[in-house]
Protein backbone atom coordinates (compact mmCIF):
# COMPACT_ATOMS: atom_id res chain seq x y z
CA UNK A 1 0.00 0.00 0.00
CA UNK A 2 2.82 2.37 0.89
CA UNK A 3 4.45 1.76 -2.48
CA UNK A 4 1.20 2.43 -4.30
CA UNK A 5 0.66 5.65 -2.38
CA UNK A 6 4.27 6.67 -3.06
CA UNK A 7 3.53 6.55 -6.75
CA UNK A 8 0.81 9.12 -6.24
CA UNK A 9 3.49 11.77 -5.67
CA UNK A 10 5.48 13.35 -8.46
CA UNK A 11 9.19 12.63 -8.24
CA UNK A 12 11.41 15.56 -7.50
CA UNK A 13 15.10 16.12 -7.20
CA UNK A 14 16.77 17.95 -4.31
CA UNK A 15 19.88 19.93 -5.18
CA UNK A 16 21.62 21.33 -2.10
CA UNK A 17 18.82 23.00 -0.11
CA UNK A 18 16.44 23.39 -3.02
CA UNK A 19 14.13 21.68 -5.50
CA UNK A 20 15.03 23.73 -8.59
CA UNK A 21 12.52 22.20 -11.01
CA UNK A 22 8.76 22.81 -10.72
CA UNK A 23 6.61 19.82 -9.72
CA UNK A 24 4.13 20.47 -12.53
CA UNK A 25 4.03 21.86 -16.07
CA UNK A 26 1.54 24.57 -15.25
CA UNK A 27 3.14 27.71 -13.88
CA UNK A 28 2.23 28.52 -10.28
CA UNK A 29 -0.48 31.15 -9.83
CA UNK A 30 0.36 33.63 -7.05
CA UNK A 31 -3.30 34.62 -6.55
CA UNK A 32 -4.30 31.01 -5.97
CA UNK A 33 -1.24 30.59 -3.76
CA UNK A 34 -2.26 33.49 -1.58
CA UNK A 35 -5.69 31.97 -1.06
CA UNK A 36 -4.13 28.63 -0.08
CA UNK A 37 -1.74 30.23 2.40
CA UNK A 38 -4.52 32.29 3.99
CA UNK A 39 -6.91 29.36 4.34
CA UNK A 40 -6.71 27.71 7.75
CA UNK A 41 -8.14 24.43 6.47
CA UNK A 42 -6.07 24.22 3.29
CA UNK A 43 -2.61 25.73 3.68
CA UNK A 44 -2.76 25.93 7.48
CA UNK A 45 0.17 28.35 7.21
CA UNK A 46 -1.38 31.08 9.36
CA UNK A 47 -1.82 28.67 12.24
CA UNK A 48 1.90 29.16 12.81
CA UNK A 49 3.02 32.06 10.60
CA UNK A 50 2.13 35.71 10.33
CA UNK A 51 2.15 37.43 6.96
CA UNK A 52 0.83 40.32 4.89
CA UNK A 53 -2.85 39.39 5.29
CA UNK A 54 -4.57 42.43 6.76
CA UNK A 55 -7.97 40.75 6.33
CA UNK A 56 -7.01 37.74 8.46
CA UNK A 57 -7.45 38.56 12.12
CA UNK A 58 -6.05 35.37 13.55
CA UNK A 59 -2.47 34.57 12.68
CA UNK A 60 0.14 32.53 14.47
CA UNK A 61 3.50 33.34 15.98
CA UNK A 62 5.05 29.88 16.26
CA UNK A 63 7.14 30.53 13.15
CA UNK A 64 8.94 33.34 11.28
CA UNK A 65 6.93 36.09 9.61
CA UNK A 66 6.38 35.21 5.95
CA UNK A 67 7.03 38.77 4.84
CA UNK A 68 10.32 38.91 3.00
CA UNK A 69 10.44 35.15 2.40
CA UNK A 70 10.71 35.80 -1.34
CA UNK A 71 13.78 37.92 -0.71
CA UNK A 72 15.45 35.47 1.65
CA UNK A 73 14.97 32.39 -0.53
CA UNK A 74 14.87 31.65 -4.22
CA UNK A 75 12.17 29.66 -5.95
CA UNK A 76 13.82 26.27 -5.52
CA UNK A 77 14.63 26.88 -1.86
CA UNK A 78 11.04 27.89 -1.17
CA UNK A 79 9.81 24.76 -2.95
CA UNK A 80 11.83 22.42 -0.74
CA UNK A 81 10.74 24.33 2.37
CA UNK A 82 7.11 23.67 1.54
CA UNK A 83 7.56 20.15 0.17
CA UNK A 84 9.57 18.84 3.10
CA UNK A 85 10.80 21.38 5.61
CA UNK A 86 12.30 18.63 7.78
CA UNK A 87 15.07 18.26 5.21
CA UNK A 88 16.26 21.74 6.19
CA UNK A 89 15.58 21.76 9.94
CA UNK A 90 15.45 18.17 11.16
CA UNK A 91 13.19 18.73 14.17
CA UNK A 92 11.04 21.44 12.66
CA UNK A 93 7.38 21.62 13.59
CA UNK A 94 6.54 22.80 10.09
CA UNK A 95 4.62 19.98 8.39
CA UNK A 96 5.97 18.38 5.22
CA UNK A 97 3.30 19.42 2.73
CA UNK A 98 4.27 16.99 0.00
CA UNK A 99 5.17 13.79 1.76
CA UNK A 100 3.16 10.71 2.65
CA UNK A 101 5.57 8.30 4.29
CA UNK A 102 7.17 8.08 7.71
CA UNK A 103 4.07 9.29 9.56
CA UNK A 104 2.33 7.70 12.54
CA UNK A 105 -1.37 7.19 13.10
CA UNK A 106 -2.63 9.40 10.29
CA UNK A 107 -6.43 9.80 10.35
CA UNK A 108 -8.06 7.61 7.68
CA UNK A 109 -9.33 10.59 5.68
CA UNK A 110 -5.79 11.88 5.17
CA UNK A 111 -3.87 8.62 4.84
CA UNK A 112 -1.67 8.30 1.77
CA UNK A 113 -2.37 11.90 0.74
CA UNK A 114 -0.05 14.89 0.87
CA UNK A 115 -1.37 18.02 2.61
CA UNK A 116 -1.14 19.97 -0.65
CA UNK A 117 -1.16 18.77 -4.25
CA UNK A 118 1.79 19.40 -6.57
CA UNK A 119 -0.09 22.23 -8.26
CA UNK A 120 -1.02 23.81 -4.93
CA UNK A 121 2.66 23.72 -3.95
CA UNK A 122 3.56 25.53 -7.17
CA UNK A 123 0.89 28.16 -6.48
CA UNK A 124 2.17 28.69 -2.94
CA UNK A 125 5.76 28.98 -4.15
CA UNK A 126 4.70 31.52 -6.78
CA UNK A 127 2.96 33.55 -4.09
CA UNK A 128 5.86 33.40 -1.62
CA UNK A 129 8.21 34.73 -4.32
CA UNK A 130 6.15 37.92 -4.39
CA UNK A 131 6.85 38.55 -0.69
CA UNK A 132 9.89 40.76 -1.06
CA UNK A 133 9.21 43.35 1.64
CA UNK A 134 10.71 42.60 5.03
CA UNK A 135 8.43 42.95 8.09
Amino acid sequence: MAAEAQNALTDYKVVDDAIPAPLTDRKGDPEAGRAIVANRQVGLCLLCHTGPFPEERFQGDLAPDLRGAGGRWNEGQLRLRIVDSSRIVKDTIMPSFYRIDGFHRVAPAFRGKPILSAQQIEDVVAFLQTLKDQP
Partner: protein, 268 residues
Protein backbone atom coordinates in the same frame (compact mmCIF):
# COMPACT_ATOMS: atom_id res chain seq x y z
CA UNK B 1 19.06 32.10 13.67
CA UNK B 2 17.38 28.76 13.99
CA UNK B 3 15.33 27.97 16.99
CA UNK B 4 17.59 25.16 18.17
CA UNK B 5 20.51 27.53 18.25
CA UNK B 6 18.38 29.99 20.15
CA UNK B 7 17.55 27.26 22.62
CA UNK B 8 21.20 26.44 23.17
CA UNK B 9 21.92 30.08 23.84
CA UNK B 10 19.01 30.21 26.23
CA UNK B 11 20.28 27.20 28.14
CA UNK B 12 23.69 28.79 28.48
CA UNK B 13 22.23 32.04 29.68
CA UNK B 14 19.52 30.44 31.76
CA UNK B 15 21.06 30.95 35.15
CA UNK B 16 21.66 34.64 34.63
CA UNK B 17 18.69 35.49 32.51
CA UNK B 18 15.82 33.22 33.42
CA UNK B 19 13.18 35.90 33.02
CA UNK B 20 14.30 37.46 29.78
CA UNK B 21 14.69 34.23 27.84
CA UNK B 22 11.80 33.75 25.41
CA UNK B 23 12.45 30.08 24.61
CA UNK B 24 10.93 27.43 26.83
CA UNK B 25 12.67 24.39 28.15
CA UNK B 26 11.21 22.20 25.46
CA UNK B 27 14.36 20.20 24.93
CA UNK B 28 14.17 18.75 28.41
CA UNK B 29 10.65 17.62 27.56
CA UNK B 30 9.20 18.99 30.76
CA UNK B 31 8.17 22.39 31.96
CA UNK B 32 9.97 23.27 35.22
CA UNK B 33 7.51 22.88 38.09
CA UNK B 34 7.57 26.55 39.01
CA UNK B 35 6.81 27.63 35.43
CA UNK B 36 3.63 25.64 35.09
CA UNK B 37 0.47 27.57 34.37
CA UNK B 38 -3.11 26.50 34.14
CA UNK B 39 -4.98 27.69 31.04
CA UNK B 40 -7.00 29.62 33.57
CA UNK B 41 -4.18 32.14 33.60
CA UNK B 42 -4.35 32.55 29.82
CA UNK B 43 -8.09 33.25 29.89
CA UNK B 44 -9.74 36.66 29.73
CA UNK B 45 -10.90 38.16 33.04
CA UNK B 46 -14.61 37.61 32.21
CA UNK B 47 -14.03 33.90 31.46
CA UNK B 48 -12.05 33.53 34.68
CA UNK B 49 -14.81 35.23 36.62
CA UNK B 50 -17.30 32.83 35.05
CA UNK B 51 -15.30 29.85 36.29
CA UNK B 52 -14.83 31.30 39.76
CA UNK B 53 -18.45 32.12 40.46
CA UNK B 54 -20.60 29.02 40.92
CA UNK B 55 -23.72 30.94 39.99
CA UNK B 56 -22.18 32.04 36.67
CA UNK B 57 -20.25 28.84 35.88
CA UNK B 58 -22.39 26.79 33.46
CA UNK B 59 -20.71 23.64 34.82
CA UNK B 60 -22.69 24.13 38.01
CA UNK B 61 -25.77 22.81 36.21
CA UNK B 62 -23.98 19.49 35.70
CA UNK B 63 -22.74 19.50 39.29
CA UNK B 64 -26.29 19.95 40.54
CA UNK B 65 -27.59 17.20 38.25
CA UNK B 66 -24.80 15.01 39.53
CA UNK B 67 -25.75 15.70 43.10
CA UNK B 68 -29.33 14.61 42.38
CA UNK B 69 -28.07 11.43 40.69
CA UNK B 70 -25.78 10.79 43.66
CA UNK B 71 -28.80 10.63 45.95
CA UNK B 72 -31.04 8.63 43.63
CA UNK B 73 -31.45 4.89 44.04
CA UNK B 74 -30.99 3.15 40.74
CA UNK B 75 -30.24 -0.18 39.13
CA UNK B 76 -31.24 -3.69 40.11
CA UNK B 77 -29.44 -3.30 43.45
CA UNK B 78 -31.72 -0.39 44.36
CA UNK B 79 -28.74 1.50 45.74
CA UNK B 80 -27.81 5.17 45.44
CA UNK B 81 -24.16 6.28 45.28
CA UNK B 82 -24.90 7.92 48.62
CA UNK B 83 -26.01 4.53 49.97
CA UNK B 84 -22.43 3.31 49.90
CA UNK B 85 -20.45 6.54 50.04
CA UNK B 86 -22.61 8.80 52.19
CA UNK B 87 -21.89 12.50 52.10
CA UNK B 88 -19.82 13.23 49.01
CA UNK B 89 -18.36 16.35 50.61
CA UNK B 90 -16.54 13.96 52.95
CA UNK B 91 -16.10 10.74 51.03
CA UNK B 92 -15.28 12.19 47.61
CA UNK B 93 -12.99 14.95 48.81
CA UNK B 94 -9.62 14.51 47.09
CA UNK B 95 -10.71 11.59 44.93
CA UNK B 96 -10.51 13.42 41.60
CA UNK B 97 -7.04 14.65 42.61
CA UNK B 98 -5.74 11.07 42.54
CA UNK B 99 -7.15 9.79 39.24
CA UNK B 100 -6.33 8.00 36.95
CA UNK B 101 -5.64 5.38 39.62
CA UNK B 102 -4.60 1.75 39.53
CA UNK B 103 -7.53 -0.62 39.26
CA UNK B 104 -6.69 -4.07 40.58
CA UNK B 105 -9.41 -5.91 38.67
CA UNK B 106 -8.27 -4.70 35.25
CA UNK B 107 -4.60 -4.52 36.25
CA UNK B 108 -4.19 -1.04 34.82
CA UNK B 109 -5.08 2.60 35.49
CA UNK B 110 -8.64 3.77 34.99
CA UNK B 111 -9.93 7.32 34.92
CA UNK B 112 -12.59 8.79 37.18
CA UNK B 113 -15.30 8.28 34.55
CA UNK B 114 -14.46 4.57 34.36
CA UNK B 115 -14.59 4.25 38.15
CA UNK B 116 -18.08 5.76 38.11
CA UNK B 117 -19.17 3.47 35.25
CA UNK B 118 -17.82 0.45 37.18
CA UNK B 119 -19.75 1.44 40.32
CA UNK B 120 -22.92 1.92 38.29
CA UNK B 121 -22.58 -1.50 36.68
CA UNK B 122 -21.08 -3.64 39.43
CA UNK B 123 -22.50 -2.14 42.61
CA UNK B 124 -25.78 -0.63 41.48
CA UNK B 125 -26.31 -3.16 38.68
CA UNK B 126 -27.50 -0.37 36.42
CA UNK B 127 -26.73 0.01 32.70
CA UNK B 128 -23.31 1.53 31.97
CA UNK B 129 -23.67 5.22 31.23
CA UNK B 130 -22.12 6.12 27.87
CA UNK B 131 -18.98 8.23 27.72
CA UNK B 132 -19.88 11.92 27.27
CA UNK B 133 -23.50 11.23 28.27
CA UNK B 134 -25.18 13.85 30.39
CA UNK B 135 -25.42 11.35 33.26
CA UNK B 136 -21.73 10.47 33.31
CA UNK B 137 -20.56 14.07 32.87
CA UNK B 138 -22.89 15.16 35.67
CA UNK B 139 -21.68 12.51 38.12
CA UNK B 140 -18.05 13.16 37.21
CA UNK B 141 -18.48 16.92 37.57
CA UNK B 142 -20.14 16.44 40.96
CA UNK B 143 -17.42 14.11 42.25
CA UNK B 144 -14.60 16.27 40.81
CA UNK B 145 -16.13 19.40 42.35
CA UNK B 146 -15.46 17.92 45.80
CA UNK B 147 -11.71 18.23 45.10
CA UNK B 148 -11.72 21.81 43.92
CA UNK B 149 -8.63 23.63 45.15
CA UNK B 150 -6.85 20.43 46.18
CA UNK B 151 -3.43 19.63 44.75
CA UNK B 152 -3.27 16.93 42.08
CA UNK B 153 -1.42 14.02 43.65
CA UNK B 154 1.67 12.39 42.25
CA UNK B 155 -0.15 9.08 42.00
CA UNK B 156 2.10 7.62 39.33
CA UNK B 157 5.19 8.63 41.29
CA UNK B 158 3.94 6.85 44.40
CA UNK B 159 2.41 3.74 42.89
CA UNK B 160 5.00 1.48 41.25
CA UNK B 161 2.31 -0.44 39.40
CA UNK B 162 1.47 2.69 37.41
CA UNK B 163 5.01 3.30 36.19
CA UNK B 164 4.79 1.40 32.87
CA UNK B 165 1.52 3.15 32.02
CA UNK B 166 3.03 6.52 32.88
CA UNK B 167 5.90 5.77 30.52
CA UNK B 168 3.56 4.75 27.75
CA UNK B 169 1.61 7.99 28.27
CA UNK B 170 4.82 9.98 28.12
CA UNK B 171 5.87 8.23 24.92
CA UNK B 172 2.47 8.99 23.35
CA UNK B 173 2.84 12.64 24.38
CA UNK B 174 6.21 12.88 22.69
CA UNK B 175 5.40 10.84 19.58
CA UNK B 176 4.80 12.82 16.43
CA UNK B 177 1.56 11.78 14.84
CA UNK B 178 -1.01 12.55 12.20
CA UNK B 179 -0.66 14.12 8.77
CA UNK B 180 0.74 17.30 10.35
CA UNK B 181 3.40 15.19 12.08
CA UNK B 182 3.24 17.03 15.40
CA UNK B 183 3.56 15.72 18.94
CA UNK B 184 1.63 16.96 21.95
CA UNK B 185 4.99 18.14 23.32
CA UNK B 186 5.66 20.24 20.20
CA UNK B 187 2.81 22.50 21.21
CA UNK B 188 2.38 22.05 24.96
CA UNK B 189 6.01 21.80 26.10
CA UNK B 190 7.79 23.79 23.40
CA UNK B 191 5.34 26.45 22.25
CA UNK B 192 2.96 27.21 25.08
CA UNK B 193 2.04 30.86 25.42
CA UNK B 194 2.46 31.42 21.69
CA UNK B 195 -0.41 32.10 19.34
CA UNK B 196 -1.75 29.29 17.14
CA UNK B 197 -3.86 31.30 14.71
CA UNK B 198 -4.96 33.58 17.52
CA UNK B 199 -5.47 30.84 20.16
CA UNK B 200 -3.04 30.94 23.03
CA UNK B 201 -1.36 27.52 23.16
CA UNK B 202 -1.84 26.33 26.74
CA UNK B 203 0.52 24.02 28.61
CA UNK B 204 -2.21 21.40 28.42
CA UNK B 205 -2.88 20.62 32.07
CA UNK B 206 -5.90 18.50 32.99
CA UNK B 207 -6.82 20.62 36.02
CA UNK B 208 -10.34 21.69 35.02
CA UNK B 209 -12.01 18.53 33.76
CA UNK B 210 -14.79 17.96 33.05
CA UNK B 211 -14.99 21.46 31.59
CA UNK B 212 -17.68 23.67 30.19
CA UNK B 213 -16.25 24.84 26.88
CA UNK B 214 -17.80 27.93 25.37
CA UNK B 215 -16.95 26.70 21.87
CA UNK B 216 -18.79 23.42 22.50
CA UNK B 217 -21.62 25.17 24.31
CA UNK B 218 -21.52 22.20 26.57
CA UNK B 219 -19.66 20.04 28.98
CA UNK B 220 -16.93 17.63 27.95
CA UNK B 221 -14.42 15.27 29.44
CA UNK B 222 -10.65 15.30 29.18
CA UNK B 223 -10.88 12.55 26.57
CA UNK B 224 -13.06 14.78 24.43
CA UNK B 225 -10.37 17.45 24.65
CA UNK B 226 -7.61 14.99 23.71
CA UNK B 227 -9.70 13.84 20.77
CA UNK B 228 -10.00 17.45 19.61
CA UNK B 229 -6.24 17.91 19.66
CA UNK B 230 -5.76 14.65 17.73
CA UNK B 231 -8.28 15.72 15.12
CA UNK B 232 -6.35 18.99 14.81
CA UNK B 233 -3.16 17.01 14.19
CA UNK B 234 -5.07 14.95 11.60
CA UNK B 235 -4.25 11.86 13.64
CA UNK B 236 -6.43 8.84 14.21
CA UNK B 237 -8.52 9.19 17.36
CA UNK B 238 -9.08 6.37 19.84
CA UNK B 239 -12.47 5.10 20.95
CA UNK B 240 -13.67 6.78 24.15
CA UNK B 241 -12.46 4.86 27.17
CA UNK B 242 -9.43 3.42 25.34
CA UNK B 243 -6.39 2.56 27.44
CA UNK B 244 -4.29 4.84 25.22
CA UNK B 245 -6.27 7.86 26.41
CA UNK B 246 -5.99 6.80 30.03
CA UNK B 247 -2.19 6.45 29.76
CA UNK B 248 -2.03 9.96 28.32
CA UNK B 249 -4.30 11.22 31.12
CA UNK B 250 -1.99 9.60 33.66
CA UNK B 251 1.00 11.37 32.16
CA UNK B 252 -0.90 14.68 32.08
CA UNK B 253 -1.83 14.24 35.76
CA UNK B 254 1.81 13.53 36.64
CA UNK B 255 2.89 16.56 34.64
CA UNK B 256 0.36 18.65 36.61
CA UNK B 257 1.19 17.14 40.02
CA UNK B 258 0.75 19.70 42.76
CA UNK B 259 -1.43 22.01 40.66
CA UNK B 260 -4.91 22.71 42.05
CA UNK B 261 -8.03 20.98 40.73
CA UNK B 262 -10.36 23.56 39.13
CA UNK B 263 -13.29 21.35 38.17
CA UNK B 264 -15.66 22.24 36.72
CA UNK B 265 -13.42 24.52 34.65
CA UNK B 266 -14.60 26.95 32.00
CA UNK B 267 -12.58 27.20 28.79
CA UNK B 268 -13.03 29.35 25.68
Amino acid sequence: MTRSIARGLCAAAAVALILSCPIRSGDAGNIPLDQRRSSYELMSPPTRAMQDDDTANPGTLWVLDGEALWQRESGAAGQACAGCHGDAAQSMKGVAARYPAFDASSGRPIDLEQRIVDCRVERQRAPAPARESKELLALTAFVARQSRGMAIEDVAGKDERLRPFLESGRAAFEQRQGQLNLSCANCHDDNWGRSLAGNAVPQGHPTGYPIYRLEWQGMGSLQRRLRNCMIGMRAETYAYGSPEYVDLQLYLAWRARGMPVEAPGVRP
